[in-house]
């Protein structure tokens, strides 16, 4: 059976990681591809590169990063953050990204999902959905969009998204656990894989998210502050009986 996935998320800006990560006994790693390789060696099942610049200047460095990652990484990776147009997404997929994650652009023009899925297949199209109190928000949580997150999830799947990256803005950064009610509601409403995001504190939180129906869990600060936490999380989950890749 398909295994549950633990997915580190790396924030990048202008092709560099936003904050370097220190691995045991090594110098701080600031290059996203080197960082990704380290996480891959530690057992990451997949990676997400999130471009936080959301600016025109960031486009070229991001494409170069994707080209290098495509050539060097041996696990799949998704690129997201500021993808505004079909051309942006196409460029990143052609450069070698396995998947692209679109968020606001999909809310503005759901047809974007359909165009991407028609050209590259649904498996290459992730719709990132940010929710606050069950309402879709964009622009890093600043813009409420007046849509119910679960309804929106159903719609994006109908439009062609092959996976949903579901972030609870409420839970994000709290380390008090993922938003299980939201995750469960979306996982029950759609038939594509759902990646839980926002709130991870420990293995128990990931287990709860899987229990709620998530196929994968995104982790960020808990592995950035100590990368060796990644294999520990996977070991704990495996010992608790979850199907986890060794």
């Amino acid at each position: 059976m398909v295994k549950k996935r633990v997915i580190p998320c790396l924030d990048v800006a202008g092709g560099h990681v936003v904050k370097g990560v220190r691995f045991e006994g090594l110098r701080e790693v600031g290059d996203p591809v080197e960082l990704a390789t380290r996480y891959s060696q530690l057992g990451a099942d997949e990676l997400v590169f999130l471009d936080v610049t959301a600016s025109i200047e960031g486009r070229r460095p991001l494409l170069e990063l994707v080209e290098r990652a495509a050539a060097e990484l041996e696990i799949p990776f998704t690129v997201g953050g500021g993808i505004a147009t079909l051309e942006d997404a196409r460029g990143l997929l052609r450069a070698g990204a396995d998947k692209v994650a679109v968020n606001k652009a999909a809310v503005d023009r759901p047809e974007l999902l359909t165009s991407l899925a028609d050209e590259f297949g649904a498996q290459a199209v992730v719709c990132a959905i940010d929710s606050r109190g069950g309402e879709v928000v964009t622009d890093g949580g600043r813009s409420p969009r007046g849509r119910d997150a679960v309804d929106w999830a159903c719609e994006v799947v109908q439009c062609g998204a092959g996976e949903i990256l579901l972030t609870s803005i409420d839970a994000d950064g709290t380390r008090a656990g993922y938003d299980l009610e939201l995750t469960g509601a979306v996982a029950r409403a759609v038939t594509v894989p759902v990646i839980a995001s926002g709130g991870a504190g420990g293995a128990g939180d990931l287990a709860d998210a899987f229990e709620a129906g998530a196929e994968a869990a995104l982790v960020a600060s808990i592995v950035h502050e100590r990368p060796e936490r990644l294999p520990e999380l996977k070991d704990e989950l495996r010992e608790a009986g979850w199907p986890i890749r060794t």
């Binding site: 495509a70 696990i75 297949g121 498996q123």
Partner: protein, 199 residues
Amino acid sequence: MNAVLVDYGAGNLRSVCSALERAGATATVSADPGIVRAAPLAVIAGVGNAEAAARRLQADGLAEALRERAAAGRPVLGICLGMQLLFEDSEEGGSGLGVLRGPVRRLRAGRVPHMGWNTLRLTAPSALLDGLDGADVYFAHSFACAPAEPVAVAEVEHGGTVVAAVERGAVAGVQFHPERSASPGARVLRNAVAWSRSA
């Protein structure tokens, strides 16, 4: 050993090129039927729309070159969409090369696309998957092959049995992404290079 990746407009051949180079091949990309015909190993990789891909292969003379290779016992490896293109009619649209018999059907399972690491179960001797029974490899697909001849060599479990790999003589296909399947994937490509050298 030179591996040629068939360029038929489906994106993302760079990852497979790099992975083949790590496996000991020199990998080039070409849309030239002559080059595809002559190479020691022809690889059909890429992601995209099955119908569009099949049409391009036909229009560019690549389908003919690949069929000739298969008939002559010259190695052809299909990866993901490439494996599906070895077969016949696809529910996604279009028809593949017909080098292997059987349709391509939409997956019927709890979660589609089938996305993530799944465990290979070898069902027949396999040059490509030698030593990989029980290995986890990465899948990302919504359609799967339903061979009408006994060419399946491995399967995985996802809402029922899903054919994970096929082999018949010099024609092989893997539904998963060996270039994104860490050590097991690298091993598949090393096996593929050895397999094509011995053909």
